[in-house]
Amino acid sequence: MPTNEDIIRFHETVKKVSEYDFSEYSEKSFARRIEKILVDYLLNMEELLEKIAEDRKFLEQIVKDITVNTTELFRDPKVWQTLKHRILPKLKENEFVNIWHAGCSTGQEVYSMLILLNELDMLHKARLYASDINEDVMDKAKAGEYVYRFNIEYIENFKQVIQVNPFNFEEYNSTAFTKYFDVNKINDTMEIKPFLKNIVTYKKHDLVKDNNIFNVKFDIILCRNVLIYFNSNLQNRVFSLFSEALERKGTLILGAHESILGHESANFIKYGHYYIKK
């Protein structure tokens, strides 16, 4: 494991040679990312720092390696059930519905949202914006193609969210997964149907330093399992950014085990799986 001093030197080097700043990432998990990078690239700490300082392309690659990209279709089905039956219906009369996926990774949650909007007949009024620090994962998001067998639980999640209504057990919707995905078992892929592609605006965004780059106010912001990698100080910065970027009564949805701590909590009211801006 890299020592504290190693990590501090890493942060200083990155700050000196680029606009990135990881010094407010959570200590333990960050040290582990660096450890993994040292192993993967067969480098020692000195060599890593030297290469970062000299080779901009290498630094960009390291930035991508540092960030974690785990995501799922309809991850935590209860959250998506709540969106479908409680949050989105309230926006049905709006002219537009603006939604920001902050830290969208490979796009599974972006497509989860598009599917819900289509099911609720709200797709035509939705404007989706998605951002990530890593442009490679956003390319994957745009392509909308995922490995099939490894992700078989996507279909289970889909059924829980789309086919049953936990608020009304008598309701059953027979919509099939294949309405939205082309499944190719031979190639082991599932690909989102073309009518849900090219709807979303993707932009590179760094939650550490960037502000709202989309020039709209949002009805919903989703930022799930991103903030767990930041320390409390940086989390507060991001909560204040979200608070600014949300419409009054706008909804903020975090990861299942994330919550707003500290002074920013005064700007939000918590309802189960989500927060409403006061």
Binding site: E27, K28, R32, E153, I228, S232, E258, S259
Partner: protein, 187 residues
């Protein structure tokens, strides 16, 4: 006898009943915080904490990211997240890659606890079917904490305990009743 301030427990296949028994044997108001990282099926995301809490006299909860930990409570790593102990007596969660095919990984909870809580900690490895936890227990031992392994003969699946015994220098190999006795003596 040296006393310790924190307990961290790791287990996998076959450990559920042992953990339940530990929790029901500790009295109301037992002051040492307990951190538990137990492997479970990825799809079983709810109900586990409730099942553990059923017989426990100590409050059991799944922490949220950056939550502080307190005396008298037991904390269970949530499904599909790694649970780490951070400086400043709080938790961090992460959804990094699985370690030893496991998320949560016992090694991560144990090694972060060893790093932050040093010689104040007892690490306990219970029954399980892979070697997760062995490295973490080694770090606890190296940082001056107490390495405890459930006696493999008593375990439904021995792989985890045997790996932990192999990785450590001088582990206490105890059966479940002795483990409980040891924990009761810390007060």
């Amino acid at each position: 006898m040296k006393k310790y301030n924190y307990i961290v427990i790791g287990g996998s296949a076959g450990s559920f009943q042992s953990v339940t028994k530990i929790l029901e044997s500790l009295p109301v108001g037992y002051p040492l915080p307990i951190f538990m990282t137990l492997h479970r099926l990825k799809h079983v995301r709810t109900g586990f904490v409730e099942a553990l809490a059923l017989k426990s006299k100590i409050k059991v909860e799944e922490p949220k990211d950056k939550d502080s930990f307190f005396p008298g409570k037991a904390y269970l790593a949530p499904a599909n997240y790694h649970l780490c102990i951070e400086p400043g007596n709080n938790f961090s969660l992460s959804s990094d890659e699985a370690v030893n095919h496991s998320r949560p990984a016992i090694d991560l909870t144990f090694s972060s606890a060893a790093y932050v809580l040093k010689d104040k900690i007892i690490g306990i490895i219970l029954s399980g079917a892979n070697k997760d936890g062995a490295e973490g227990l080694k770090m606890i031992e190296q940082n001056g904490g107490l390495a405890v392994v459930q006696s493999p003969e008593e375990c439904q699946v021995k792989t985890m305990t045997e790996a932990a015994i192999k990785a450590t220098v001088n582990p206490e190999i105890l059966n479940l009743d002795q483990i409980i006795e040891l924990l009761l003596k810390q007060v």
